[in-house]
């Protein structure tokens, strides 16, 4: 089953090409859309909502074409924009009820759904106060609630963790995971942090400059380049040499040594090497893959692919 699919999707603005021949398919569950600022994430979402005409190519959302059935798509999906979008002088309840009605729910049902949804996103007594007095975290919850209130089959969440503190970030990510699993609503969530998305997504799409860099299940990402970062007080070179001798792949990374995890024996090798050399270990942690690593990896893969025909 395909939730959305694009084929050769291109969007050019007068000065910039926001999307360039993008072809992706997304299945049910939580899908992450990763890219640096200006990579074309928001443009893609606007096209998928039928609000922006593609210059070339086509796209289907829930098997509906975005150029011809935009209104139907917008009835069946929810959208949480990246930017602030809340009027300050109404309460969260009033606003979410109103947005439910704007999606076609009758007033009584809208009230019921709004109360339910606000509870699910974690807004309780404060929902009767005007939104203007809310913290960023609470505002993000209201934005999420208005996207869910009409029980869509798919939600687009544009940078939902923007501006949140670490705890708020964790809570938001937990909510997104619940939406995808417990609520049974498919999610397309954008972020510029891959590490953040790998905790909640089943599938990740990486775009850069409007082009598709990579689209794969999250397990591929972590398996392919799982690393462990090792930091010792001194004797970094010695350790690197010893680990290489033990058959590990080591790359120095500033004060850190990145060791590729081949299996549990890698951790044993690190432990033994550090003990044998009598080094003082400062840090041993799971390497967080960052978006740059994906870029580097993909570039390397492209280079390899380029060498094949030669």
């Amino acid at each position: 089953m395909t939730i959305l699919a694009t084929e050769g999707l291109t969007r050019r603005f007068p000065r910039v090409t926001a999307l360039d021949q993008l072809s992706v398919t997304v299945g049910p569950g939580v899908t992450g859309l990763v890219g640096a600022n200006g990579a074309g994430k928001s443009t893609l979402i606007k096209i998928l909502l039928g609000l922006l005409e593609p210059t070339a190519g086509n796209a289907q959302v829930l098997d509906m074409d975005v150029t011809t059935r935009g209104a139907e798509i917008r009835r069946a999906v929810g959208y949480m924009p990246e930017h602030d979008c809340l009027p300050p002088d109404v309460s969260a309840t009033e606003f979410v009820v109103h947005m439910a009605q704007m999606s076609g729910l009758p007033r009584t049902n809208a009230r019921e759904r709004a109360a339910d949804t606000l509870r699910h996103v974690g807004l309780y007594e404060e929902r009767y106060r005007p939104i203007g007095g809310y913290s960023t975290g609470m505002k993000q919850r209201v934005k999420l609630a208005q996207a869910l209130v009409h029980d869509p089959r798919l939600v687009f969440l544009d940078e939902p963790t923007n501006g949140l503190d670490p705890q708020g970030r964790d809570e938001m990510l937990g909510l997104i995971r619940r939406i995808g699993t417990e609520f049974g609503i498919s999610v397309l969530v954008t972020s510029h942090l891959l590490g953040e998305l790998e905790r909640v997504c089943d599938h990740v799409i990486v775009i850069d400059g409007g082009k598709l860099l990579r689209s794969s299940a999250i397990s591929d990402f972590t398996q392919a380049t799982q690393t462990v970062a090792v930091e010792v007080e001194e004797g970094q070179e010695q350790l690197a040499a010893r680990l290489a001798d033990l058959g590990q792949t080591v790359t120095p990374h500033g004060r850190l040594l990145m060791v590729q995890v081949a299996g549990p024996e890698t951790y044993d090798a690190v432990r033994d090497a550090v003990c044998d050399l009598d080094l003082r270990l400062i840090r041993l942690e799971q390497g967080r893959q960052r978006i740059e690593d994906v870029f580097r990896g993909s570039a390397a893969a492209l280079d390899l692919a380029g060498q094949v025909p030669a």
Binding site: L49, L51, L52, A71, E72, R74, R75, Y79, P81, H83, D84, C85, L86, P87, P88, D89, V90, S91, E94, H98, M99, Q101, M102, S103, G104, L105, P106, R107, N109, R113, D116, R119, H120, P130, Q146, H150, D151, R178, E182, F183, G184
Partner: protein, 296 residues
């Protein structure tokens, strides 16, 4: 399972999990109706903090005061007080202030706080949005005009004045109110929509009213002092309120509300054309404004 006695009061919120909605989903029309109602409530500050209610309800009371005084006169002195047809033109300053303070409230926050993209991510279109906002402002202006007129009319019926009634004039005034409301709503909303800042919108709308009424007044004064009364009457039509009043005089043969009268013959039709052109211009400007806002 052990039966533990419960001592503290138990107010438990049961998490019944996520429930899907399988009820009715209405069409675009009901969404537009919901937006209209939401906007109309916003104009009068309903569902908003108390300070949002002061201005609209204060002005509504000011509109009702002359009506109440008129009713009192009719009851006590048994004389017709303020006439229906001239009421709106006489109260134009209050209406202009209401329009200037409330029309920006209708459109500016959606632009400033970027609520518009949220609306457009729903099945409604830009035209639906503009239509709903105009409908809300028109209804609000109608409330402000029709309520005092109705109070006066009910007063007249109760007072049982000697002589012929003024039922015809009352209905003429009601019909004219619709034209007033549509014109004011379109012009006020269009001007206000060009700035996301409310204060600027208020100033712009009030400036438009002051400018037209001042220009009209000055030209009228100059021409009247030159004893060119015919031309002076044409100058009256520059003020949009008097233009609508001239249409009323032409269509319903009511006494003019400006105290000096309007040009005979072509005056009425031309005033109507002018008002309609103003409405068309305002709607066009609004649509262009929102097409641009939607694509950005």
């Amino acid at each position: 399972m052990t039966a533990t006695p419960i001592h503290e009061p138990t107010g438990v919120i049961h998490d019944i999990g996520y429930r899907h909605y399988d009820g009715r989903r209405l069409g675009r029309g009901s969404a537009v109706a919901a937006l209209t109602l939401h906007s109309l409530r916003g104009v009068f500050g309903l569902g908003r903090p108390a300070r949002s209610k002061i201005m609209p309800f204060g002005l509504l009371v000011v509109m009702l005061l002359p009506a109440v005084v008129t009713v009192a006169i009719m009851m006590l002195v048994k004389q017709q007080g303020m006439g229906y047809p001239g009421f709106t033109a006489t109260m134009q300053t209050v209406l202009a202030i209401f329009l200037a303070t409330q029309a920006p409230y209708l459109v500016a926050p959606d632009l400033r706080f970027r609520v518009l993209p949220l609306y457009l991510s729903r099945p409604v279109t830009v035209l639906d949005y503009v239509g709903a906002k105009l409908a809300a402002m028109t209804l609000a202006m109608l409330v402000l005009m029709v309520l005092p007129l109705t109070v006066m009319f009910l007063g007249e019926l109760l007072a049982d004045l000697p002589g012929p009634g003024h039922t015809g004039e009352f209905f003429a005034a009601l019909a004219t109110s619709v034209l007033y409301a549509v014109m004011l709503a379109c012009v006020g909303t269009a001007i206000a929509s060009f700035t996301p800042r409310r204060g600027l919108g208020v100033a712009a709308v009030i400036a438009f009213y002051l400018l037209t009424s001042a220009i009209s007044g000055v030209i009228y004064g100059v021409l009247a002092s030159l004893s060119r009364d015919g031309a002076a009457e044409w100058a009256m039509l520059i003020n949009p309120f008097f233009a609508v009043d001239a249409v009323q005089v032409w269509l319903f043969d009511t006494p003019p509300g400006n105290g000096v009268g309007y040009p005979d013959g072509l005056g009425g039709p031309i005033a109507l054309l002018g008002v309609l052109a103003l409405i068309a211009l305002a709607v066009l400007a609004l649509i262009m404004r929102y097409r641009k806002a939607a694509s950005s």
